[in-house]
Symmetry: C3
Subunit: 247 residues, 3 copies
Amino acid sequence: MLRATIDADVFREAVDAIAALVSECRFHVDSEGMRTRAVDTANVAMVSLELGPDAFEVFEASESALGIDVTKLKNIIGMVNRGDPLMLSIPEESQRLNLAFQSYQYSLTLLDPNTIRKDPNAPTLELPGKVVIEGAKLTNAIKAAAVVSDKIALGIDPEARVFFMEAEGDTDNIRLELGPDDVESLADVKARSLFSLDYLKDMAKSMSRASQIEIGIGIDHPVRFTFEIAGGKGRVIYLLAPRIEAD
Amino acid sequence: MLRATIDADVFREAVDAIAALVSECRFHVDSEGMRTRAVDTANVAMVSLELGPDAFEVFEASESALGIDVTKLKNIIGMVNRGDPLMLSIPEESQRLNLAFQSYQYSLTLLDPNTIRKDPNAPTLELPGKVVIEGAKLTNAIKAAAVVSDKIALGIDPEARVFFMEAEGDTDNIRLELGPDDVESLADVKARSLFSLDYLKDMAKSMSRASQIEIGIGIDHPVRFTFEIAGGKGRVIYLLAPRIEAD
Amino acid sequence: MLRATIDADVFREAVDAIAALVSECRFHVDSEGMRTRAVDTANVAMVSLELGPDAFEVFEASESALGIDVTKLKNIIGMVNRGDPLMLSIPEESQRLNLAFQSYQYSLTLLDPNTIRKDPNAPTLELPGKVVIEGAKLTNAIKAAAVVSDKIALGIDPEARVFFMEAEGDTDNIRLELGPDDVESLADVKARSLFSLDYLKDMAKSMSRASQIEIGIGIDHPVRFTFEIAGGKGRVIYLLAPRIEAD
């Protein structure tokens, strides 16, 4: 059972963050809100989303796992006007998610949760390199790197006290250095790992709106991006595995 | 012979309404203005357009039927700036439509009217279900339905006193109900017919600008959309045949 | 050696003007500024660009010829925000052009100038038909002609005292006549030549922003378009060979 009302923009932000990586997932609902965690088909990237009950205007849910066709849900929510309230409901014993807005009633068949790949465990990661940066700055750097290459190195140079991003193409390269004036905080720990720009570009769409992104990096380790949505009542975490550096 | 001046936006609206369904047609001109009626190649949809002489700033025409390449005419009119006057002329005995605007002179060869399929008769239709609705509301519903299906049912539920639209996909469905507060008038007559969304999407572009659309529906009957253009000095009618309901 | 700072918009305008015709070229730099001249692969069109040292905020250069991948340079400059200063530098003996803006450092490998086709000579052309016209008027005419044809005739009718453009399609044609009120100056010399619209459309993107374009035309001769960029501190010349008129 689910009965919830949420601002359409807030829910769109949440669904878009998931849709960047996966086309179906399991929404876990209970009195603590809504949660999902999913990995992409290639097992390279993971998204984890939490929406607390206070992200909703109304929220009542009995504990259950909902199989969601993320792509369809995204298309339907794309129809709702900015700021309109969106009502979500699943009657007791039903296998359909009803979405109501304005005078519309959508009914979306839930997927059988057993057909969706198992929820990944949250890996325990030691990522001592911490940087807090504006979302737009991070996503601009991702776009700039894509002009010359398909991969990007993210790192911290503790001596120069900069967070850096580097991309190397066949003949060209780009380097961006952000010092203490450009980032909101920076751990003085050496870090550097290489990532696929394809994944980062997908994630960038959601991250560009965040006022603050906490980046966790290590040496040849995954990167973790953590940011708030829904005015702080929800949180998204992206994890991305590193690429092997070919020298 | 034709000598006419018309606001470019008004003529663009008229030509766009026709171009949504057909790529060539016959313009009938005489002292009563300009009229055309044409069916699409699949014989599923019909457009009928009337522009009275007062839709034009200048209008003089001897009775004739002009074979028009609608696609070309649309492209040329696309060049004219908003609000510029457009001069249309066909000298006596000529087979060319001249279009003049700003310092430009276009000359468009008329098609031989005999090579264009015969004007359809206006079918006599009993469509007791009458709804008057804002164009934007109708076209939003068409877009919303397209998210889940390729067909839409339009109907009136006289007991609930609502105009409804329903679309069913393989697993999902959407229903929109508009009551007395949402429509400008509604006949209390039972009606329901199913239509192809492809055609409706084509028509929607023209209908979205209309402040009022009169919809005529029946039970498994065609639908008729009637709306004004050119500030009430012109009128467009779309007719669309129903689809068979497969259950 | 090169060390230069320039407004990103000014440099973008210059690079876009070249990129319209060629994908690589030789930049000649010395104390007089930056110059390039290149023909397209089909030998039909030529672009010539000059940027004086005062188009730059800082400009120091030892005489050299730089092999430039124009497409890559255009993509990189596309990343720079409007009005940001762009620093260009090539250290002594280096084969890399460094581009710095905001916190970014791009490094673009120079092409070997010997692998780029030889600079064309500037042909000596007698083009007595001179017209000075606003860039937007010229480019609108090019777009209008493209609706009916793939070629356009440009000419001067000295008796009617008009600059004209004519395009003829299979069945349709367009003619634009601009008299003394529409052009800024007009030589009373008979001229008419036919040109490919494909090339003119490529050139039009750069020409549309120019407040004045000087056109030089003859009878079945090339056309020359000359216009200023960088607030008068730079100049672009396009030359386009005529097409044979098939009658």
